[in-house]
Symmetry: C2
Subunit: 275 residues, 2 copies
């Protein structure tokens, strides 16, 4: 089957990419203003946080998308989906890492993805507090601020314990599924690991500042930008799991980054059978 993205005109993709950057500009402006002025924090019943910034950013980005592309679908963390059957779907996490944002740890970020008939077309990881943005689009490359990203692969002689690997926290493996043993296996075999609990981890994996990331048990908006950014940088993205659980809803897991590192992580995960 033809990749439907190949049927889109380059200037259509260029316009959509530019719009995603406008959305990221707005997210940055709103977040920096709220960091300066203060914002409200509410703790949800499950212990997670949401702030007035999450709502403000998602509302503003939705309004900008609806004005520019009235027939596009939108899925975001804080509001109900719009046009879930449309060909173009904007997917966003207005503030990924809200708990870090609340504590002013600067690794939080805004995640924006655009999909066309299920295929990733545009991605943005915007970190207002780090003045860092990674963005890209199908056929247009991945960019770290103003520099094109071209991922080099790992040296095959690098031992596992020297690879720079980022993991989701163990909670992501065990919260909705009994997959904690997979975290334990990863932590034992790849001991040069980091855990950020926010999308800065994605940024490091797609620009090559880490060798790869295992993103486990997250929502579609958490992972909305990683695939297009990893692939357009010359990296590899392997979806591990996409399933709908009765209580938890849809959970996605994936591994992405430099191809050789991704392959080693996927191999280890496949050797850690699920219950």
């Amino acid at each position: 089957m033809t990749d439907p993205r190949t049927t889109l005109k380059p200037d259509t993709i260029e316009r959509l990419h530019a719009h995603a950057l406008t959305l990221a500009d707005e997210a940055r402006r709103i977040v920096l203003a709220l960091l300066a002025s203060g914002f409200e924090v509410v703790r949800k019943p499950d212990g997670s946080y949401v702030t007035s910034a999450d709502f403000r950013v998602e509302e503003r980005l939705r309004a900008l998308i609806e004005a520019a592309f009235p027939d596009h679908g939108i899925a975001g963390e804080e509001y109900a989906p719009r046009f879930p059957d449309a060909d173009f779907q904007w997917v966003m996490d207005p503030i990924d890492g809200t708990e870090d944002f609340v504590h002013r740890v600067p690794t939080f970020g805004c995640i924006i993805g655009l999909f066309y008939r299920g295929h990733p077309l545009v991605g943005v990881l915007e970190h207002p507090a780090l003045a860092t943005r990674v963005h890209g689009a199908y056929g247009r490359g991945t960019w770290h601020n103003d520099s094109r990203v071209r991922l080099a692969d790992i040296d095959p002689a690098t031992p596992n314990n020297e690879l720079r690997v980022i993991l989701s926290a163990r909670e992501n493996f065990s919260r909705h599924q009994d997959h904690g043993h997979r975290f334990d296996a990863l932590a034992r075999r790849f001991e040069n690991h980091r855990i950020y609990r926010s999308c800065y981890a994605h940024t490091l994996a797609v620009i090559g500042a880490a060798d790869a990331m295992v993103d486990y048990g997250n929502r579609i908006w958490d992972i909305a930008a990683a695939q297009i950014l990893a692939e357009e940088a010359g990296g590899k993205f392997v979806p591990l799991q996409d399933l709908e659980l009765p209580k938890a809803g849809r959970l996605l897991s994936s591994v992405f980054g430099k191809p050789g590192a991704v392959e080693r992580l996927v191999t280890l995960l496949e050797q850690s059978p699920l219950p």
Copy 2:
């Protein structure tokens, strides 16, 4: 026995504190210049990195200490100790998190500590790339940039899996000692964990942006600032281990941050008996 720090005059401590801030200013200036101009990277035989920035910062800080306090001792990561029996000992890691520095991950930092007859007197955690500094001195409080830090304790009703805990990577538990099971026990019980692999973790624990940190199997310069900063902020610092291993040399482990969180982590570690 009287705490020897109580015998020092307040203006002596003030002058030493001010000198530590001058050292941090210099570290910031050198590191920012080298981030802009580029620096040399060498991989040591053990796989760890060292850069021209590590040497440049340590050389400059040593020269400033020697000029101001010619009879003080100095211990740093890159050069041999000076006057190891002196009452005043400056301890520094010019760039903690060198591997992150090499990859331009901004969580690296410069660690400066001053000890008087073995007791921590002054501490600085300087993060040039985050424009963040935490500093403090005995009787003078802990400061996050220009704000005094006063740690609130955790709500005792907070479940373990909601505490914000930072761990050393599993490698720190297993590299020189067979303590990996302690990492596994911590990761299972405190699932809202983060791993930074550089001294930004210390910063978050002493300013209260995380609830506590377990710092495991590190060198004296890695932990040079944490105790005075945690204690002067109203937090707790519990030394877990200080031992000299035949091959690895001296290794230190400790837990610090908000008292209630520190106590829970120490209890769990005590329940994970060593081989």
